[in-house]
């Protein structure tokens, strides 16, 4: 499997165009439905593609959540699986999953669940048992409020 992660930034008015070579596309890697690209308010774009030839499970990463109040500090690795007609995106780091009729929906559902988990644990941070306490500690390392 080939995973290519891209981070790009929108140029500000008057800013010179960077002279570096564009990222080389790995042979066989296609911007298939697993493609994930998100632009933040600051104009940053983070994207991941996974090679189309790979079967399931696949691994991909996403760099933002579906909640403007939260920012991921590093891309989150996700396992994508297929169960019958459904796609499942699973994040073992925080024991959460999302699902959908395609990989886009599954990842978006996971991003939603991730944010939901963050806010719920934050609201109950003094009342967490061992397991969720570890998850909360890990979430604080992964996520920043903005």
């Amino acid at each position: 499997m080939t995973t290519l992660q891209i981070e790009a930034r929108k140029l500000r008015p008057g800013e010179a165009t960077p002279t570096q070579e564009p990222a080389k596309w790995p042979e066989g890697a296609l911007p298939n439905p697993i493609q994930e690209a998100t632009a933040t308010e600051e104009g940053e774009v983070k994207a991941s593609w996974v090679s189309a030839e790979a079967g399931f499970p696949q691994t991909l990463a996403f760099g933002s959540l579906l909640d403007d109040r939260l920012r991921l500090l590093k891309p989150l690795e996700v396992q994508l699986e297929q169960e019958g007609e459904w796609y499942i995106a699973r994040c073992g780091e925080v024991d959460a999953f999302g699902y959908g009729e395609d990989s886009f929906q599954a990842v978006d559902d996971l991003r939603q669940s991730f944010a939901e988990l963050y806010w719920t644990l934050k609201a109950s941070q003094e009342q967490l048992a061992k397991g969720l306490s570890s998850v909360w500690k890990h979430l604080r390392e992964l996520v920043e409020e903005q």
Partner: protein, 89 residues
């Protein structure tokens, strides 16, 4: 094995999960005033629940334990004991 949506809901009720509607049905297990774990079930049309493996994993149950729980042979106390043995409480 398959789980039906109503069986899941009955199980949540029996084990004392607190449920909340958030697009999906979110279920939180609390013990001694502390949140211990969570899971969710889809509200998709259809009787049999998809993603049962993920649900089982989040509930920290193996297939036999889930089967027993669905047959009402697994109480909240049994569940608490199991979670204690797994070091989650």
């Amino acid at each position: 094995m398959t789980i039906k949506a109503r069986e899941f809901d009955q199980l949540m009720d029996k084990l004392g999960f607190e449920t909340r509607d958030s697009g999906d049905l979110l279920a939180w297990f609390e013990h001694d005033g502390k949140k211990v774990l969570w899971t969710k079930r889809s509200k998709l049309r259809g009787d049999d629940l998809p993603f049962q493996h993920q649900i089982r994993q989040q509930m920290k149950l193996n297939e036999d334990q889930l089967r027993e729980a669905l047959r009402c042979r697994f109480s909240r106390d049994d569940y608490v004991t199991l979670l204690q043995e797994k070091g989650l409480l």
